[in-house]
Symmetry: C2
Subunit: 353 residues, 2 copies
């Protein structure tokens, strides 16, 4: 149980008979069209640090009023976040505090610290941002990090709240970092893009198009200072993002909207299966409105995660890693049959322990 220190011990772990509610890895394959370009591909030279031009141009069509200069293509959303934090840290202006709403994606806190910034937490109510607490705390911060839909809660912030956040941060001259990697996976409404000249949007091809292993994400901002600083750092820290996976991402953007709608329908069915199933097992949890995670309460979570893995071959993540003690996180990025089998094993664990 001492080994339960971070999710990295489970990442990429797959094996016979293991049901993994662990990583946020969609089981559904990417659109077949992204593989169509592979057979004839022979490019091998360095690409532009900022990202392939065709991909950035295609992205700019998705964001009103933007052009290709507003984007930096990165090694997944992870590098987009890392570059954003490093850019913010190195640019002038006092303060090192970054406001984060808890529960939060597990990478945020260590990444902010590795980037010589300081996380400050604002607690949420059933996963929803408490705007009064946000307003109070953001005053001492350089930036606020928003993640809606949220990993690990699956909760989506109300549009009213998002507009209040825009106004507060604009008035106080605070940067908003908006991690919207689950923007296409909302069950209740369309995504509301946080916008403004002080906003840096983080996104990825991993969740919408199942391209996790290919590591393509991006940051988008109207703030050229941030964009240029991110490019500068990337020039030294990793250079261009893989040229081939950028072409695959470009192909993914051509896929019709109906592809995404079909995915959302599948996710919603699974959401219902796991939400109902865990409730039936007597666990208390919030209803996910987006993304593909649930965060139920459970007794002795450390023992639960360890025993579920070792004895029942079920991978779950410790809520503690996400700032949610007393809970465990389950990703439902697996087919309904496996979700059912996993729920059965969890039921068995609850009965036997």
């Amino acid at each position: 149980m001492d080994k339960l220190q971070s999710p990295s011990m489970f990442i990429g772990v797959r094996g016979k008979g293991i049901i993994s509610f662990g990583s946020g890895q969609p089981d559904l394959p990417p659109p077949e069209s992204i593989f169509k370009i592979l057979p004839g591909y022979r490019s091998f030279k360095y690409g532009l640090i900022q990202g392939n031009l065709n991909l950035r141009k295609a992205l700019s069509k998705e964001y009103q009023g933007s052009d290709e200069d507003n984007f930096v293509v990165t090694n997944g959303a992870s590098e987009a976040l890392d570059l954003t934090f490093r850019a913010i840290e190195s640019l002038e202006g006092e303060g090192t505090n970054i406001l984060v709403h808890a529960p939060y994606y597990y990478s945020y806190i260590p990444l902010i610290k590795f980037d010589h910034l300081k996380p400050v937490l604002t607690e949420t109510i059933a996963g929803k941002i408490d705007i009064d607490d946000f307003d109070r705390k953001v005053r001492d911060c350089k930036a606020a990090l928003i993640n809606s839909p949220s990993n690990p809660t699956g909760r989506v912030q109300d549009i009213k709240t998002l507009k209040q956040i825009e106004k507060i941060c604009r008035d106080l001259n605070k940067v908003i970092i908006s991690d919207e990697v689950y923007k296409d996976l909302i069950y209740e409404r369309e995504n509301y893009l946080l916008h403004g000249d002080n906003v840096i949007t983080i996104n990825s091809f991993s969740k919408t198009y199942s391209m996790c292993g290919y590591r393509v994400g991006y940051l988008y901002s109207n703030d050229k200072k941030i964009v240029n600083k991110a490019i500068e750092i990337k020039t030294y820290s990793s250079m261009n993002t893989n040229i081939l996976s950028q072409e695959m991402a470009y192909e993914a953007l051509k896929v019709p909207r109906s592809y995404v709608d079909k995915q959302v329908k599948i996710w919603k069915e699974r959401r219902n299966v796991i939400y109902d199933g865990l409730q039936k097992l007597g666990l208390e949890l919030w209803k996910p409105e987006g993304a593909f995670y649930v965060l139920p309460k459970i007794d002795n979570p450390r023992k639960a995660v360890w025993t579920l893995f070792k004895k029942y071959k079920v991978i779950t993540y410790l809520g503690e890693w996400f700032g949610a003690p007393g809970r465990i996180r389950l990703s439902y990025a697996l087919d309904s049959k496996d979700i059912g089998e996993g729920l059965k094993r969890i039921g068995k664990y609850l009965k036997e322990n």
Copy 2:
């Protein structure tokens, strides 16, 4: 000319009629076998953060006494360096100084600074490390960064010097970061791998196998503290390196040694063309013993780089970016015909300016 602030303005710039002595991008394509796996490839899931197991196992065969746990596969040597610096910075132990021999690869200084460390310079004599100055200065440093063969000098450190560096750093308990990305491109002798438990070796598939755009590199160390810290940071900052390019790298490692020997023969011929050519134009320069760069002296280098680019369509890099004022760097990673044409234009520039 004010725009000449860093090489990033030239990276990925290609155009009709431009002769680029700029980036260290081999023009020779990768071995065809790395493309053979593309047509049938359909994997898409997250890989292990540390790197694909087959690739790390294959790498361990190249380093005596190592196993797969000693490696972290990265987004090129750039990320390997970044992770190494960040790991060193975050691990206990006083001091933030990193000893760097000048002239140096342009990324080193800003990367060290972005990683909250401080570069300390030791000057070289005709590109060769002055071991007395090294010995004096390394005492105030946490680590020494060695790059042999060197970008931008093309010089290879003598084996005697490398052994002295090993002994000094072992005795003083200093970390050695050995950037050996040009290890396979030495014209005079075999590579001498710097070794010891305090050594972190940085390498890449970009130069030996022309895979620049695919961004596959790695760090290798017997120091598990460093390896584990690098994995931890990578978990948050970029996750796995592209799964497909790792498979391509794995294929590259199967290529027979004769492939590399053939490449070296071509590089050596080009080295002779450019070295003789620049001498004939009256420029003073050191003879490259490895890698594919020359660093001649030139009058008013800033004007030279700018005018060569704008008027003669020849890309060269400013020596200043590499800690070599009064010089310019030329990469000879292009075919002998283009080298000849580029030399002609440089001759024209020298005559007309």
